[in-house]
Amino acid sequence: MTDLGPLIPRNRAAHPAAYDPDYKTSVTRSPNLPLLSMESTLTEETGPRFGHGLLGALDNNLILNWTKGAAPAIGERILMHGRVMDELGRPVPHTLVEIWQANAGGRYRHVKDGYLAPLDPNFGGCGRTITDESGYYQFLTIRPGAYPWPNRANDWRPMHIHLSVFGHSFGQRLITQLYFEGDPLIDHCPIAATVKSRSQLDRLVAPLDMAHARPLDFLAYRFDVVLRGRRQTMFENKLEGM
């Protein structure tokens, strides 16, 4: 196995702080003590690989995967697509992307979700796919509804899709959320607001992408993901103390 070098240290300023009192659950679930920072080792530089053989044909089609194609989900049909790359702009091919979301009414198919909006009998709410050679992925789904949640007295989540990405090393592991261009709730959401840098938050907002919308069928939203890169230099393999 060629040594691709250590992972580039994470820029923690690009991410939310663990403790954010406006997101109340974080108050007791945030470490008080500093993280132990160290250069990555083989443990963080390797990671699980998932082959296409593990996936079903409808896994990336949330409109049809719950009913196995028998009946489509209710809601605004959308294509969610984009590229996964690393900090150096290199594509991340053959990596797993998983998503989960509420239905068009803002309700999750989950025992703990008791929101008034009904379940859609034709919608499950999860999808997964593997990026192609150039790091590209796509999902067909419906646009999720906004929903209220217990936090401050009247907090609502903007329309969003949860997204989990692996990359090629365990240290690249990332979970994030996609928001939709033009949603006025984004600026009211304490979870979105855990991202303090406006440019970083803007990058979680997927633009409407009319070029990839299919007439009389679905709209499209574009969402690119950037994972940590690797620092490969010709000095990487020197022995300690040399």
């Binding site: 994470r10 991410h15 663990a18 007791t28 008080n32 990671g47 989960w100 991202v195 022995l239």
Partner: protein, 199 residues
């Protein structure tokens, strides 16, 4: 002005929220059958080399309450210290597993093989360990930590050696509770707070 660096910024993390199971382990969330099979169901297959072990534990918040909605992922080497994908790695060791805190008790279980020591880039070895990644509602960026074992020689491990307050290193060491059985509790905050990693 200076030349422009051609670098992108990593996408910001967001909490996995309370329904992370729907996306990662849908069968656990009650969405059985939506996929052919959930990923990360087993860390090992039958016939994996080495000692088969079971690690149980829970993730506690700052009030001492066990999280009922946490999800963990583990990544580890085989009994000889080789990761899946490396030459000679045990094909029966998947290395990767996903497991959730029980919705009632908050307890989780990981069944796997005890990993071997892992070679370092600059020479030397890391003591046997399993990498853990923890997500849940209220955790804004997934937390990285490691499980080491109290019945292994941890003296030369570079990570444990970096922990200045020796008693904090104990938070990364699973306690043997029986033959092939270990206990590993994670404390997110406060007394006995687990050492979390930035690697």
């Amino acid at each position: 002005m200076v030349q422009k660096l051609d670098m992108l910024v990593e996408t910001a993390s967001q909490t996995g929220g309370p329904y992370v199971h729907i996306g990662c382990i849908p069968t656990f969330a009650g969405l059985e059958g939506i996929y052919p099979e959930d990923l990360g169901k087993r860390a090992i297959e039958d016939g994996a080399q080495g000692e088969v072990i079971t690690i149980t534990g829970a993730v506690y918040d700052g009030m001492g309450w066990a999280l009922r909605d946490a999800m963990c992922e583990s990544w580890q080497a085989d009994a000889k210290g080789r990761f899946p994908g490396q030459e000679g790695a045990d094909p029966k060791v998947n290395g990767f597993a996903r497991f959730a805190a029980d919705g009632e008790s908050g307890e989780f279980t990981l069944r796997t093989v005890k990993p071997g020591r892992v070679a370092m880039r600059g020479g030397g070895f890391q003591a046997p360990h399993i990498a853990l990644w923890i997500v849940a509602r209220g955790i804004n960026t997934g937390l990285q930590t490691r499980i080491y074992f109290e019945d292994e020689d941890n003296s030369g491990d570079p990570l444990l050696a970096r922990i200045e307050q020796r008693q904090r290193a104990e938070t990364l060491i699973a306690k043997k509770t029986g033959d092939g059985l270990y206990r590993f509790d994670i404390r997110l905050q406060g007394e006995g707070e687990t050492v979390f990693l930035d690697m």
